[in-house]
Symmetry: C2
Subunit: 248 residues, 2 copies
DNA sequence: GAGTGGTCTAGACCACCCT
DNA sequence: GGGTGGTCTAGACCACTCA
């Protein structure tokens, strides 16, 4: 089978098949195996190429559509979309911000302003479903793309059964990577979205003058349903293109 | 079969089965047929009650989960969520704002500030895929809940093959209703989401002092893939609770 | 271990597009 | 009319929860 120039080996014990196919096809799109606006193969062909049922291909395609990477037209086919040179992200998909930045061709970075063990406040304890005397790990970070700040994050992590040396990992980069490193990969999040203007959020040399942010107030959950992290990410208005595909 | 106290008659020629079931179950939840936090019947039971395949029930349940109305727990069941008295809306689902407001127990209203036929600007013509000398219908509206403004809308509608008397309908209320009245129901929209602070957006007696809005810049499409409406809705920060359920 | 959700399959039928 | 996407079905197997 010919699946572009890329290998595709489904990996049991990992993500679902449809998610693996989605990721594989996303890479094909972002690497311009298909030119912007070009028609991609039909669902039947893809199902045969990837050796899965058509429904599985459809699931993957609909996720790519949600992210605004393809445009599916009934009776005609699916076409890759044109999007500028900005960072385009779908909100439905829970992904590492760093990963998204990298895929869009920028170099992600993280600057840690603060990180500490402390007791949770009432709201944090409630979100994380822990008692008020249990320590949590608190972080203040800035996420950058090509050195330019795109977001500020304020997060608390539930550290029940986390050792100190594992906590040190958080100082090095992507939170998702750090969590993954000890088998605590969040699989879903509930987010509330808000517009915020405040001078108190940004910091550092490239603190945005506007003080205008898109706030994602969210709690992340593990596969077993327990919350692992809660907090807010403030995206600097204009530096990230958030797409939502809405359907009836 | 007993499906709560409500009838359920699938209607061919209308929405998909899973969407009809979603709407039916949403009504059951919002009317508190199940108390907040209560477990709802299993997928197997629901599939039997509604006389559909389990996959169809699942599709409906996942949409309700996206809207934050239920919480699905693997191996355990689906539970209705607790949410305050605010207006909770999922962003993935394309729905009439008025409809959402009504369902949450408030009385929706619309105030029209301006409506006119005019030529499109370049951006509008491009979004609607029409030429620059084709008239469009432009509207400025405020959407209210219990008399309080929750959003300001600036929209242009493609009026190719729309008669004048049909255009008059727009002055009366929900745009979705007006479009539907002559068989032009949008089935999907691509939205970009932004945080905006501006004194130029709000108007009228209850113009918000903060000037802070969550902007949904969107283009609506018909089933045949053609754009029918484009514009921006500015939600007054804090009056609408936008929920996004994010998954890997 | 019984019950429940998570995923995938193979096949079917329909609606729509295009030539 | 042939190709393509949109939806639904019936059944299967697995992973997880809870008593």
């Amino acid at each position: 089978m010919s699946i572009g120039k890329r290998e595709f080996k489904p990996d049991k014990n990992k993500a679902s098949l449809s998610n693996q196919i989605r990721d594989h096809m996303r890479a094909r799109i972002l690497n311009q195996e298909w030119q912007p606006g070009e028609k991609i193969p039909s669902e039947f062909v893809l199902a045969n190429d990837y050796q899965v049922a058509r429904v599985t291909i459809r699931t993957a395609l609909r996720m790519l559509e949600s992210q605004g990477l393809i445009d599916i037209r009934h009776g005609s086919g699916a076409y890759t979309t044109n999007f500028g040179k900005g960072i385009r992200a779908g909100l439905q998909e829970l992904r590492s911000i760093s990963e998204t930045i990298r895929e869009m061709g920028f170099t992600p970075g993280v600057v840690i302003r603060a990180s500490e063990l402390r007791l949770p406040n009432k709201a944090e304890a409630e979100e994380l479903r822990i008692s008020l005397d249990e320590n949590i790990f608190y972080m203040e970070r800035a996420i950058t793309a090509d050195g330019k700040v795109v977001a500020f994050s304020y997060d608390t992590v539930r550290i029940t059964d986390l050792s100190q040396n594992v906590i040190n990992k958080f100082s090095t980069g992507s939170v998702f990577k750090a969590l993954e490193a000890f088998g605590k990969h969040p699989v879903r999040a509930m987010s509330e979205i808000h517009a915020i203007k405040s001078e108190l959020i940004g910091w550092g040399p490239s603190k945005p003058k506007s003080g205008l942010y898109l706030q994602l107030k969210q709690t992340h959950f593990l596969r077993d349903g327990f919350p692992i992290m809660t907090g807010s990410t403030y995206f600097v208005e204009g530096r990230f293109q958030f797409i939502i595909h809405r359907t009836i």
